[in-house]
C-alpha cells in the first residue's frame, strides 16, 4: 500500500476492484466503513461477483473477469474529457509534459512500436523521452542530433509496427539497452502532439463507453454512473477531495496484471490522489508477511530491498552497479533526487552483511559469489523445469505448491520426476503427499522414486520475529509457547541444513564452495540464530567509525545505524536490507514500539511499531501539497513547507529531501529518475508497453474487440508440456474465477475444527440461469471442467453472478473458493471430492510480475 489500513478512513471515495476486503480482510475493512460513516465517503465495488464488499457499496458494477484495463482506460478517457483531473499536479508531479521520441507508436493494432514477431519481444528504443529543452507552445521538438540516425531508423521500423531489420551482412547482435536522456524535452502547456498527456489521451480515446460495454459487459449507463461518481472528487479540477483505489489478487492474477495496477496508478496520478491521506494505490496483501517476504526478496529476480539480481553481462561489481544505478532524467529547470543513485551504498552494504570479512574492496565485495540469472526462473518455470528433469530437488517451507498450482496435475507430475523433496510444514499437506494424491494407485506409488522428507515446523505463536503488513508496518511478535513434540523453529531448520552442507564442503570440497564457506553466519548460536540478532543485521551497523559531514554526528564501529542515509559503498557499513534500516537503532528496537498516540487524528500512529521506509506512513507525501508547499486540503494536513524553519514539517515523516525549498521544484516521486510519477513508463520499465492496453485473458469467450488479430498480450508464452492445454471457447464457454472465504485461510485452516464447521465443504457458485439451462439444483454435485482438469463440488445456485452480454453474446461466469484439497479434517474423512481448485487453472503468466492467470479462465459445467 502507498498508504495504510487506518488511513482509508481519510478518504472521500473508494474504488474497490480486484479485491474483496469485507470478506478477506475484515478487520482492515472497518476503516472503509469508518470513512463511509464519518466522511460520507462513497464506495464503488467492481467485481465479477456480488460480494459482501459489494453489499456495503454505494454502487456495485458486475464486470467480466479480465477486462479491468478496459474499465479503467475508459475512466481515464472520461476524466480527461470532462476536466476531472488535477492539472497543476499533472504538470508538476507527473511526466505528462514530457515529450516522447518520434517513432513511438500506440497499439491501435495491439502492438507498440518495436515488436519483433520472430522473437516475440519488443525493441524499446522508441519507448523513450525526446532529448531537449522547453517546447511549451511549440509544435515540434527536433530529434537530438547525436541520436538522429537511431531515431530515424526506429521510426522507419515503427511505421510497419516492427523493429528495424538488421543491416545485411551484419549479425543481429543485441542492441544496447536504451537509456533515459538527462535533459528531457517538455511542454508545460501539454499541447505538443507527442507529449505524454496527448499520447495518453489518444491511447484511451478508443475506450469509449460503448467499447467498454462490449468488452466488459457493463451496460453503458451503469458504467457512466460509476466513472462519473469516482471522478466526482475532481469535479472542475477542485483539489480538496481525495479518492483511493484498493485491490488484491483479483488484479494481479492475469497475463496483464501489472498493467492493470499501472492503470490504477495512472488514474491516481491524473486525479492527483497519490501521496495524499485517504488516497493512493493500495494493495491488500493476502498473507501475513507477504510484504516482508517480498521485501526480503525470496524471488528469483531480486535481492533484499528491491535490488536487482545480477545477470551474466554484469562481469564485475562496477559493471553491475553501472547497469542498475539510474541517472536523473528530467526537464533542465527541475530537480530530481533520483534516490536510487544510492544503489551502490545499498548493494555493497548487503554484500558486507552476506559475506562479512570475505567481501573486500579488492574482490568487488565478493560480487562473483552471487548467482547470475539469464532467464525466467519464476514459479511456473520451476514446475516446468522440474517436469523436464532439470530441477531435481526442492525445499518447500510453508508453501503448498501442489495446492497453489496453477495446474495442480502438472505440479504433481513434476514432483514425481524429482529426486528429493523437503517439506517444512505444521500440518500434513498435499505437497508432501503428492505421491498419494487421489487417482494414484498403490502400484503407481511404488513407481514414484522421489524421496520426501516432512519436517515438523513451528506455528506462529511458537516463533518470535517481525512481520510486515500491507501498510508496511514492521511489527515484532513474541513467542508464547514452544513448538509441540519434536517440531523445530523454521529458522533453526534452515540454519541446520545450511551448516551441515557447509561441513560437507569443508570436508569434501566441491563445486565453487567459496560463497558457502564464507557466508557470514556469525550468530550467537549458529544452529539456532536469535532473530533479534538477525533483525539488527537487517537494520545494519557501522563497520568503521563514521562521521556525518554536516552535523558531525559520529557513529562508532559496531554501532547500529540510525537509517539508510548512513550507508556507504566502501565497505564501512553493513545492512541486510536497506529499506529496513532504521528499524533497530542504537535507540533500541523501533518495531516493538506500542505508542497509541495519534496527535493528528489521521491514523498516523507514528510511535506504533515502525514502517518502512524511515517510518513514513504515507509514501510520496510531498505530493499532498501544491508546488508551493501548501496542503491541497488544509483539513487533512500531512506535511508542509515551513518557510521560517526552511524545512518540511508535519504529522508524518516527509518522504522528501527535508530542506528542499519548493522553488527548487524537486520532484515528489524521489524514487524515479524523473522525480515525477510515470503516466508513460519509458524504456521497458514494463515489458509489454509504456501504457496499459486491454488484452483478453489467454482463455477468453471473445476475440479482443479492440484488435481481433492481437487478442492476447503479445509477450505471453505458453509451455509445451502435455499438461499445458488450453480450452476452445466453442467447447469451454464459461468464465471461471477463484476466491477465498472469510472463514478459511488458504490451505491451513482446513485442519481447524472451528473453521471446518463454518465452511465444511467446497462449492461452486453458479448463476440461476445457468443452473436452469443445465437442470442443476442447489446442492447437486457438479463437475467444473477446464482443458486441464475436473473439479467436483456441490452447486451453490446464486443470483450473485448474473449472465452478461459480451458483444451481443450471453456469457456466464462462475466462481469457486480455493480452500479444500485432499488433506484436511473433512478430506481425511471422505466428506468431499478431494479435488483442488487449481486443477483447473492454466500455467500462463504476466510477462512483468510472472504471476499466473488464476482469474478468468474457461470451463464447462456438467451435472455429476
Amino acid at each position: 500500500m502507498t498508504n495504510g489500513w487506518i488511513d482509508i478512513k481519510n478518504t472521500d471515495m473508494m474504488l474497490i476492484m480486484g479485491g474483496n476486503p469485507a470478506e478477506n480482510h475484515p478487520c482492515g475493512f472497518k476503516w472503509a466503513m469508518e470513512a463511509k460513516r464519518n466522511r460520507n465517503a462513497k464506495l464503488i465495488s467492481v467485481d465479477p461477483r456480488f460480494t459482501r464488499t459489494s453489499a456495503t457499496a454505494d454502487l456495485f458494477v458486475q464486470i467480466r473477469a479480465g477486462t479491468d484495463i478496459a474499465f479503467l482506460g475508459g475512466l481515464i478517457r472520461y476524466a480527461i474529457e470532462n476536466n476531472r483531473y488535477a492539472k497543476e499536479y499533472l504538470v508538476n508531479y507527473t511526466n505528462a509534459a514530457f515529450i516522447v521520441k518520434e517513432g513511438f507508436k500506440l497499439p491501435e493494432d495491439g502492438l507498440y512500436s518495436g515488436f519483433n514477431s520472430g522473437s516475440g519481444t519488443y525493441d524499446k528504443t522508441t519507448w523513450n523521452y525526446q532529448e531537449g529543452g522547453d517546447f511549451s507552445g511549440k509544435t515540434d521538438a527536433p530529434a537530438t542530433p547525436t541520436h538522429a540516425a537511431a531515431a530515424a531508423a526506429s521510426s522507419a521500423g515503427a511505421a510497419s509496427g516492427h523493429a528495424p531489420e538488421p543491416a545485411p551482412g551484419k549479425p543481429a547482435g543485441p542492441a544496447p539497452p536504451p537509456v533515459l536522456p538527462p535533459n528531457v524535452a517538455y511542454d508545460l502547456t501539454l499541447q505538443h502532439p507527442r507529449c505524454v498527456f496527448q499520447l495518453m489521451k489518444q491511447q484511451y480515446s478508443r475506450y469509449t463507453p460503448e467499447a467498454v460495454e462490449r468488452i466488459t459487459g457493463i451496460p453503458k449507463e451503469q458504467y457512466l454512473k460509476a466513472i462519473e461518481l469516482f471522478t466526482s472528487v475532481r469535479k472542475d479540477g477542485d483539489m480538496k477531495k481525495v479518492a483511493t483505489i484498493i485491490y488484491a489478487v483479483g488484479w494481479t492474477q492475469h497475463t496483464f496484471g501489472t498493467q492493470i495496477i499501472r492503470t490504477a496508478a495512472m488514474i491516481q496520478l491524473l486525479l492527483g490522489n497519490v501521496g495524499r491521506a485517504g488516497g493512493g494505490v493500495n494493495a491488500l496483501r493476502g498473507h501475513s508477511n507477504i510484504q516482508g517476504a517480498t521485501d526480503m526478496a525470496g524471488l528469483y529476480d531480486s535481492l533484499p530491498g528491491y535490488l536487482k539480481a545480477p545477470v551474466p553481462d554484469d562481469v564485475d561489481l562496477p559493471t553491475y552497479l553501472k547497469r542498475v544505478t539510474p541517472t536523473a532524467s528530467k526537464p533542465t529547470p527541475w530537480d530530481s533526487m533520483n534516490y536510487y543513485q544510492n544503489t551502490p551504498k545499498f548493494f555493497v552494504s548487503l554484500l558486507k552483511s552476506m559475506y562479512g570479512d570475505a567481501a573486500t574492496k579488492e574482490n568487488g565485495f565478493a560480487f562473483e559469489y552471487l548467482p547470475k540469472i539469464d532467464r525466467d526462473y519464476s514459479w511456473t518455470h520451476i514446475w516446468e523445469d522440474m517436469y523436464n528433469g532439470k530441477v531435481k530437488g526442492m525445499m518447500a517451507f510453508g508453501m503448498n505448491g501442489v495446492m497453489i498450482g496453477p495446474d495442480t496435475t502438472k505440479n504433481i507430475n513434476a514432483l514425481k520426476k524429482a529426486d528429493w523433496l523437503v517439506v517444512g510444514e505444521i500440518y500434513p499437506d498435499e505437497t508432501s503427499e503428492f505421491w498419494r494424491a487421489p487417482g494414484i494407485s498403490t502400484d503407481e506409488q511404488k513407481k514414484i522414486n522421489t524421496t520426501v522428507y516432512r519436517l515438523p515446523c513451528a506455528g506462529f505463536a511458537e516463533k518470535d520475529g517481525s512481520m510486515t503488513n500491507s501498510a508496511r508496518w514492521v511489527t515484532w511478535k513474541y513467542a508464547a509457547v514452544p513448538p509441540p513434540g519434536q517440531a523445530r523453529l523454521d529458522q533453526d531448520i534452515i540454519a541446520q541444513i545450511f551448516l551441515r552442507v557447509r561441513d560437507l564442503y569443508k570436508k569434501d570440497g566441491g563445486q565453487f564452495p567459496d560463497p558457502i564457506l564464507n557466508l557470514s553466519w556469525a550468530y550467537a548460536d549458529a544452529a539456532h540464530p536469535p532473530l533479534t540478532q538477525v533483525a539488527m543485521e537487517l537494520n545494519g551497523r557501522a563497520l568503521a567509525e563514521l562521521t556525518d559531514p554536516v552535523t558531525k554526528q559520529v557513529i562508532k564501529a559496531g554501532q547500529q545505524l540510525p537509517g539508510f542515509a548512513w550507508l556507504k559503498d566502501d565497505g564501512t557499513t553493513m545492512c541486510g536490507n536497506w529499506i529496513y534500516s532504521g528499524m533497530w537503532t542504537e535507540a533500541g528496537s523501533q518495531i516493538q514500539r506500542r505508542g497509541t498516540e495519534d496527535p493528528s487524528g489521521m491514523g498516523v500512529f507514528p510511535n506504533w511499531a515502525w514502517s518502512w521506509p524511515a517510518n513514513r506512513r504515507v509514501l510520496y507525501n510531498r505530493a499532498s501539497c501544491n508546488p508551493a508547499g501548501k496542503p491541497w486540503d488544509p483539513d487533512r494536513k500531512q506535511i508542509w513547507w515551513n518557510e521560517a524553519a526552511g524545512k518540511w514539517v508535519g504529522n508524518d515523516v516527509p518522504d522528501f529531501k527535508p530542506d528542499s525549498n519548493p522553488k527548487d521544484h524537486l520532484g515528489p516521486f524521489i524514487m524515479n529518475p524523473e522525480g515525477v510519477g510515470r503516466l508513460f513508463a519509458p524504456i521497458g520499465v514494463l515489458a509489454d508497453g509504456p501504457f496499459p492496453e486491454h488484452y483478453e485473458p489467454i482463455e477468453s469467450p471473445t476475440k479482443n474487440l479492440l484488435h481481433p488479430d492481437q487478442s492476447n498480450n503479445p509477450l505471453v508464452k505458453k509451455f509445451k508440456s502435455p499438461y499445458d492445454k488450453f480450452g476452445d471457447p466453442a467447447e469451454y464457454s464459461i468464465v471461471c474465477t477463484t476466491y477465498r472465504l472469510t472463514e478459511q485461510y488458504h490451505y491451513w485452516t482446513k485442519n481447524n475444527p472451528m473453521n471446518v464447521q463454518l465452511i465444511p465443504e467446497p462449492f461452486v457458485e453458479i448463476p440461476v440461469e445457468l443452473a436452469d439451462e443445465k437442470g442443476i439444483r442447489g446442492t447437486d454435485m457438479i463437475h467444473v471442467i477446464s482443458a486441464r482438469g475436473t473439479y467436483t463440488a456441490k452447486a451453490f445456485v446464486t443470483r450473485r453472478l448474473k449472465p452478461m452480454m459480451i458483444d451481443g453474446k450471453k456469457v456466464y461466469q462462475i466462481g469457486l473458493p480455493i480452500h479444500q484439497g485432499f488433506r484436511g479434517i473433512d478430506e481425511d474423512e471422505g466428506r468431499n471430492a478431494r479435488t483442488p481448485a487449481n486443477l483447473l487453472t492454466p500455467a500462463v503468466t504476466d510477462p512483468n510480475a510472472h504471476t499466473p492467470e488464476s482469474k478468468g479462465f474457461l470451463v464447462k459445467v456438467e451435472k455429476a
Partner: protein, 193 residues
C-alpha cells in the same frame, strides 16, 4: 503489561452504558470472569498469521513461570491497543487457539522412501544429514560456473526453494542468505502467485 490490561477492563466496566437495560450492571461480572480466566496467565503479544492486515493478538498462557513446565495456551483474543484491529478478530483469527492446540500438528520428522506407500519415522539427525547430502550432490551435479559465452554465472540449477509468506522477515532473510550462497536461482515464494 498486565497492569495496563486490568486498567483496560476497569475502564470498560466503568464506561458501560448497557447496564441499565437489564436493571443491573453485568459489566463488572463479565470483567471479573475475564480476570479470573487470565488472572495468573502470562500475556504474549503476537500478530495474526493469516491475512496482511496484521491484527494484533494477545495470547494468554499459564504454567510458564516454573522451570521445566511447558506453558499452556488458555485464551487468545484481539489486542485492544492495536490501532488497526482495535481488539477485533475475524472468524479465522478467532480460531487461532485451535491452530495452537491442534491434534493434527506434525510433531516428528518423517520420510517417504522411493517407491514407498507410506511414511516412516526418521530422526532429526538422520533427516538433516540426508538432506545436506542431497543438497550437495544435486548442487555439485547441476552447478554452472560459466555460461556458453564464458561469462561467470555461478548458478545451481538443480535445486529449488519455495517459501510461504507467513513466516518472519528474519526467517526470509536467512533463507535468501543461505540459498543464494548455494547459488540457487529457482528461489520463489507466495508473493509470486
Amino acid at each position: 503489561m498486565q497492569t495496563s490490561r486490568r486498567d483496560f477492563f476497569k475502564v470498560a466496566a466503568v464506561g458501560g452504558v448497557a447496564a441499565t437495560i437489564f436493571g443491573f450492571d453485568l459489566k463488572p461480572a463479565y470483567a471479573q470472569l475475564k480476570e479470573l480466566k487470565i488472572a495468573r496467565a502470562a500475556e504474549t503479544r503476537s500478530t495474526c498469521p493469516y491475512c496482511a492486515v496484521g491484527c494484533g493478538v494477545l495470547i494468554y498462557t499459564i504454567g510458564d513461570k516454573a522451570k521445566n513446565v511447558t506453558p499452556q495456551v488458555i485464551h487468545v483474543e484481539g489486542d485492544p491497543d492495536h490501532p488497526t484491529n482495535r481488539g477485533t478478530l475475524c472468524p479465522k483469527g478467532s480460531s487461532l487457539e485451535q491452530d495452537m492446540l491442534n491434534p493434527r500438528r506434525l510433531t516428528k520428522p518423517q520420510v517417504r522412501r522411493p517407491g514407498a506407500t507410506d511414511w516412516q519415522d526418521i530422526s532429526w539427525d538422520t533427516a538433516l544429514n540426508e538432506i545436506a547430502q542431497w543438497t550437495k550432490k544435486t548442487r555439485d551435479a547441476s552447478f554452472v560456473e560459466k555460461d556458453a559465452n564464458g561469462r561467470t554465472v555461478n548458478r545451481c540449477e538443480g535445486i529449488s526453494f519455495i517459501g510461504g509468506c507467513t513466516d518472519t522477515n528474519e526467517f526470509n532473510y536467512l533463507v535468501v542468505k543461505a540459498m543464494r550462497s548455494l547459488g540457487l536461482v529457482y528461489l520463489e515464494n507466495q508473493a509470486r502467485v
